[in-house]
């Protein structure tokens, strides 16, 4: 008894070049990282590719290499290896985020590229074909209204990957391979605030690696969810903070789970040079609450996600400042 649409084809390229070529040959195909997002969605028929380009044999994408002042993480590196890799340890937020993704079995298969590129989520969308069809589908897939915001013309499905915010606070770049050649851009530019098309990649583009600057600042990641494992973040927050003499040097805060994309909180520059005190924490709280846009895409209330995101940001900043002082 097969639970995926029969007739699916799978290609197993051994190099980036072969992968790009295979993908280009098959307009209805998708890259397959660990499959822990894609295969689940295919089983629910919310994604119906006719072919998969399996990236697991592309060795050049499965390495973590330190070169000069850059740590380059292949997009094919599994989440489990990422979490356990010594060179990642200084990027504390990344380790914490990786360790909290899904369950250990998923992390053994799931990849960095797949985690970054995973689909956005919504209770009206991550359901079976019967369910969605009984609900006349929705804007994101096969339908014409959004059940979350029926007046609007956009999809608010929430980006819920843990890794992206944890990487974003280090200001990384990503390498992208495409039939037309390679390009490099800030990771932040990968994401678009649109639940239906949340990635800026064009057809056939492959994320090859993430490039993290060396000498990372102290950082931390935390998320809220109902259970202690498996659950996606209702809100996830990464913070990187440098401080000296009890004063903020640079502060970067990134969020996930609240919007259709992970994003760096704008306007944190203004905290430079200030002491980390209650007033500052309150301002951070307000700033987060202002910039996040949770919608009713989860069973937990959207207000909870807003308030919890702010609470996490406050807590992590205080915690990192405390560590800095100590």
């Amino acid at each position: 008894m097969s639970t995926l649409a029969s007739g699916l084809r799978v290609a197993h390229p051994h190099s980036i070049e072969e992968a790009i070529a295979a993908r280009a040959q098959n307009p209805g195909s998708r890259f397959l990282g660990g499959g822990t997002d894609l295969i689940v969605n295919m089983r629910r028929q919310i994604d119906t590719p006719n072919a998969l380009i399996d990236l697991s044999r592309v060795d050049e994408m499965a390495e973590i290499v330190a070169k000069g002042d850059i740590l380059r993480i292949g997009a094919g590196v599994t989440i489990a290896s990422l979490a356990g890799d010594a060179s990642i340890a200084p990027y504390k937020a990344v380790v914490q985020a990786a360790e909290g993704i899904a369950g250990p079995g998923h992390r053994n298969m799931a990849t960095v590229g797949g985690n970054l590129c995973q689909d956005t989520r919504c209770i009206y969308y991550n359901q079976s074909e019967w369910w969605r069809s009984a609900n006349s589908f929705c804007l994101k897939h096969r339908g014409d209204t959004c059940h979350v915001a029926p007046q609007g013309q956009r999809c608010h499905a929430a980006y819920s990957g843990d890794l992206a915010p944890a990487l974003l606070v280090f200001n990384p770049e990503i390498d992208i391979a495409a039939p037309k050649g390679c390009r490099r851009m800030p990771l932040a530019d990968l994401f678009v605030e649109d639940g239906r098309a949340h990635l800026s990649l064009t057809e056939g583009e492959l994320v090859v690696a993430v490039r993290l600057p060396a000498a990372p600042p102290p950082s931390a990641y935390a998320k809220v969810r109902v259970r202690g494992a498996i659950d996606f973040p209702l809100a996830g927050v990464a913070v990187a903070l440098t401080s000296s003499g009890g004063k903020v040097g640079s502060l970067r805060i990134a969020l996930t789970g609240t919007n259709s994309r992970p994003f760096l909180l704008a306007d944190t520059d203004r905290f430079a040079g200030r002491a980390v005190d209650d007033k500052l924490l309150q301002e951070i709280d307000r700033l987060v609450q202002k910039q996040v846009q949770p919608m009713r895409t989860t069973t937990a209330s959207s207000n909870y996600r807003r308030v919890a995101a702010a609470a996490l940001a406050r807590r992590l900043v205080a915690q990192l400042a405390g560590q800095g002082a100590a």
Partner: protein, 779 residues
Amino acid sequence: MTSEPIVDAKLAQRRVPLIDGIDKVTGRARYTVDLDHADALVGRILRSPVSHGNIVRLDVSKARALEGVIAIVTGDDCPYTYGVLPVAMNEYPMARGRVRYRGEPIAAVAAIDADTAEQALALIEIEIEKLPAYYISEDARAPDAVLLHDNKPGNIEREVHHEFGDWQAALAQADLVREEKISCAEINHAQIEPHACLAEYDPLTERLLMQSVSQVTYYLHLMLSRCLAMDESRIRIIKPFVGGGFGARVEVLNFEIITALLARAAAGKVLMALTREETFLTHRARPQTDVTVKIGMKRGGKITACTCEVVQRGGAYAGYGIVTILYAGSLLQGLYDIPTLRYDGYRVYANLPPCGAMRGHGAVNTRHAFECLLDRMARELGLDPFEVRRANLLKPPLFTLNGLMVNSYGLPECLDKIEQASGWKERIGKMPPGKGLGMACSHYVSGAAKPIHWTGEPHAVVNVRLDFDGGITALTGAADIGQGSSTMVAIAVAETLGISLDRVRVVAADSAVTPKDNGAYSSRITYMVGNAAIDAAQKMKTILTEAAARKLEARPEDIEAIGEVFRVSGGGEQSSLPFHEVAKAALVDRGAITVSGTFTTPVEAQGGKHKGGAVGSTMGFSYGAQVVEVSVDDATGQVTVDKVWVALDCGHAINALAVEGQIEGSVWMGMGQAMSEETRYLDGLPAHASLLEYRVPTIVESPPIKVFIVESHDPNGPFGAKEASEGALASFAPALVNAIANAIGIDLDEIPVTPDRVMQALIDRRRQARLAQSVRAAS
């Protein structure tokens, strides 16, 4: 002279692993979908996409024409209702005319493979004229609401109004009267094995073989006979290994009847394996419940009166509803001394999957509300939570106001045990900020004293067989669904006969060979089937003793049997015989022996004389109490359970290992309901129909559970035993909510206590404080 008898070491220690445990740890155990189905057709069900409506057109002709489709059945193929209560069968296996919830079966297909079956479903054309649909009790009860069932005005399946004693006067005499309205979300059993069955119909002999995940194969047998209009003798039911039930599989389920209909229509074998989503849609679990409870209390904590209103949102069909709403009231009694009581219960229809029985059936949500209120009142009166409970203990033996029999009562000892183990006295009131302790009590029946299908037969029958091989085979209809009931039967037989456990084989739940049993519900098996097993084993022992006496030329009353040796008491080596020789002697002249043991409850145990008075009646209640320790993160609303101490009076632990397992499992299931589990419907569609959105706790947030077994030795229980699987469940949620109140000073009125609910309560408190401040400033 002093040679030690062979005693079974594991039996003596009362830590017996499951007799089918090896099958489970090796992967050999065959669950329904593991049965040989190489030549079986694949069954699939077409489900209603709308919540409420009239089917105006149903056309299966295109699907029927698809190559590879062997059979299609619809509501037209089964004009018979089915259900668990003979008085309330208002459901068809597939809708006829009207659909009442999204997901209700409308038609089904048997095809040569899954792809074909699914293509066929897509080819079935349906047109449904929508009717207004109701998803909350209040809406369904509105005066102008369309009726789901024409004969049920107000969309109420059953109203219950019970009054015992002059509760009004008693309230007036109380020093403190308080009322709370507490809501519990709907939950689901979420047993890890999804529903499945394998039906085989032989058109030549006109016989049906059904293998299914059933907890009560007898009900399945009855309903298949009814819905297929087949003689019961032509049906055979076998229960393979079952991956949990918790009440989900007590009632006969629509897919079981549908699969049998398909098998007959296809003249063959059909495997129906439901998805997790369909398993959720089949539901039959604990209803969303609003409990309004009022207690009158004396200054010292003694309760004078209790009034309680319970509204259960029961879903679209009757199911078990009448029993659930009766349980919710009757089990207010039996735990404490409540001298006057008024109960009003309403079981409401709504356009959602039907609810049913779930572990702690009917008792859990009322108990939750009651125990929360008890704590809040104790706080107001400056009483310790233990103290207020001790002020209301029963003094058995007695019959409660509503006629429930209480003989053994280990609650006082349970309280002592957990108070001490948790360090309650030293720690309460001295916990650091955000940390708290809470406690609560609960109880549950050891089998309903009056079965639903009253036939005049005994409550339980067990056959014990002996043949030339010297093996003892116990035959029971009781369904082992993982709780270990077959192991219990084996122990009861081995202990009674004084033989090693290895000599006993248990054959369970195959209607062709095992005696009918009322099944795995209301925690009846240990008490009832255990007693029947002992009875059968005693009869076998009499036969064996007589045979040994003949051989040893002694009087039967002088023979003792210990450790597989029969001897003349006080005699030497020569006057003893090993088991196999006694067995051979017993077979002389009569051949293979089968004896039958039974158990029947006396009339006085069967509850009060008032309408519905039988529900809640039992031979003995288990009693439980627990302390829960929590941490509450007031920034994120996240609650962590740090530790649980639980004591349960199970009468006597026939197998302490299994009793611990049941207590841990039930406490933890209570934790799931209290912390994270709930169903959520979006216009009648289940947003929770997966194990990602229906949040069964993971091992990460599951706390250590310290178990204490209390043995009150019930006078009528098998070896003094009572139930151990349900009694501890209901005290978790109130203990947790009480602990949260202890930690952060907030009384939560809703479960589960998900972070968003806790956060909302924190926000509300802050807002109120600000309001109070501004009022003060203005005045």
